[in-house]
Amino acid sequence: MRIRRSPDILSSEITDQDLYLNRRKFLTVAGVTLGAALVGGKTAPAFSALPPSMAVGESLLAAPSAFPNLRKSPLSASESPNSLRDITTYNNFYEFGTDKADPAQNAHTLVTRPWTVRIDGEVKRAQSVDVATLMRWSPPEERIYRLRCVEAWSMVIPWVGLPLAAIIKHAEPTSRAKYVEFTTLNDPKQMPGQRRGVLDWPYVEGLRMDEAMHPLSILAVGLYGDILPNQNGAPLRLVVPWKYGFKSGKSIVRIRFTEQQPATSWNMAAPGEYGFYANVNPAVDHPRWSQAKERRLGEFTKRPTLPFNGYAEQVASLYSGMDLRKFY
């Protein structure tokens, strides 16, 4: 596969170097402070009592930065990311309420440590693994991606993500595995939004195997070089940048390999409006609104939406011969 950076970036879209360095500095200082607070506090001795697999993940918190020596990726967009504030206060995460300001208010009730993910279905051996294990299977990288919501707004987000392909290889799916299904935690005590039947809980999303194996697909564990905030889907959130945002299953507790196409949440809730594929496509309108343009948060005028959210060169071949009007 050819990996190409988008050639026509306006200079105004590139983050100023000073700003960028200052932000790094701030994040490092914040990380040190957080780490020092944790080590200096009463919680420190508890780390040593953790099982070895957990200690890897936990020790990251005490390090100067949550993800030291984070590898940058040629797959990152070179556009300027949205602010941490925008990314963490404008979220569709119905498990914490249907207003986009709700998750930032309510997601503190989610306990993300310890966290285990069940890997089962069409695999050689079903197993439960923690996040630290997944991070060993597939080391974190910085991935700056565009996110296009089906509601016609978009952001640029500097994720810290684990390439999904490496995780799938470690999971050892059998030859019968054609799809991957991602299930979100279902616990109304931690997720108050689940006390209302807005969607059929738990939230389920899915990908075709080749989509899941694509180098762009990641499981996000961090944001802006730090641990992923709860409202963004901590501790583990699917990110598939050429698809509408609702494909990003959040707070994932189960990865199941299946022979049949999984039944996914929004598709079940309104099949005429949200398809299984949900590839960003300016030519196919949502029945109730246009998808031709989008508002990039922070910008005044709308910009045209690009096919596959600007990742056509990398992913369009996955869908050659498919009628994208039918498989929306």
């Binding site: 504030r85 404008y90 986009k100 707004w153 309108d285 343009k293 508002r295 922070g298 709308k302």
Partner: protein
């Protein structure tokens, strides 16, 4: 008379509070990550709220016997129109950058916009005929008939909201419920005119 003037003045100021709030939020960076959407939604819900407030004047008069309330109804209706104008201008100007072909396509292709736009257009003749002079020119009966359009407009406003919401329809249903009560009361009173107005045990 004096107390009514004071009440009306207070109500006038109160009706400006939603707009003042948006201006205050704009200057203090409180409109959130998507300010245009925030302002658009806020103006829309206030339009609907003021339509419902206008529609509650008649039932309130009847329930409280405070007949002077009729004197503030025109002002409330004009405020609903004022917020509808701001809502439409925010949509057409700020959200769509006055791109006429895009707006036209939106109005034709997307039912919630079709309904919302129709309601806005229907409000215009009501605002235009709100003066005493126009009321006289039209004659009471015709004027009243024309102004019954507000029932259609308010219902359209609720549908506009309902059709735009992705999944959680609690808010539009609440507006719909209030509207149903306001219109239901009218129907109820209509069916028993004698008893409601002059009920007195038969001597």
């Amino acid at each position: 008379m004096k107390s009514l003037a004071a009440f009306k003045a207070a109500l006038f100021v109160l009706c400006l509070v939603p707009l003042a709030r948006l201006v205050f939020f704009a200057f203090t960076d409180r409109l959130g990550a998507n300010p245009i959407e925030f302002v658009l939604r806020s103006l829309g819900t206030w339009t609907l709220t003021l339509l419902l407030v206008t529609l509650s004047v008649t039932p309130l008069r009847r329930l409280t016997g405070w007949n002077s309330l009729i004197r503030v109804r025109r002002m409330l209706g004009l405020f609903a129109f004022f917020y509808a104008c701001l809502h439409f201008l925010t949509y057409a100007g700020v959200d769509q950058s006055f791109d006429l072909s895009a707006i036209l396509a939106d109005v034709v292709k997307h039912p919630y916009i079709t309904v919302g736009f129709t309601c806005f257009v229907l409000l215009i003749p009501l605002a235009a005929t709100s003066t005493n002079a126009m009321q006289r020119r039209l004659g009471g009966r015709r004027w009243q008939l024309l102004h019954r359009l507000i029932y259609v407009i308010a219902a359209g406003g609720v549908v506009h909201y309902l059709w735009l919401v992705k999944k959680d329809i609690t808010q539009p249903l609440l507006y719909g419920l209030v509207l149903a009560v306001l219109l239901g009361l009218r129907l109820w009173w209509r069916r028993q005119p004698a008893r409601a107005a002059f009920s007195r045990p038969p001597g």
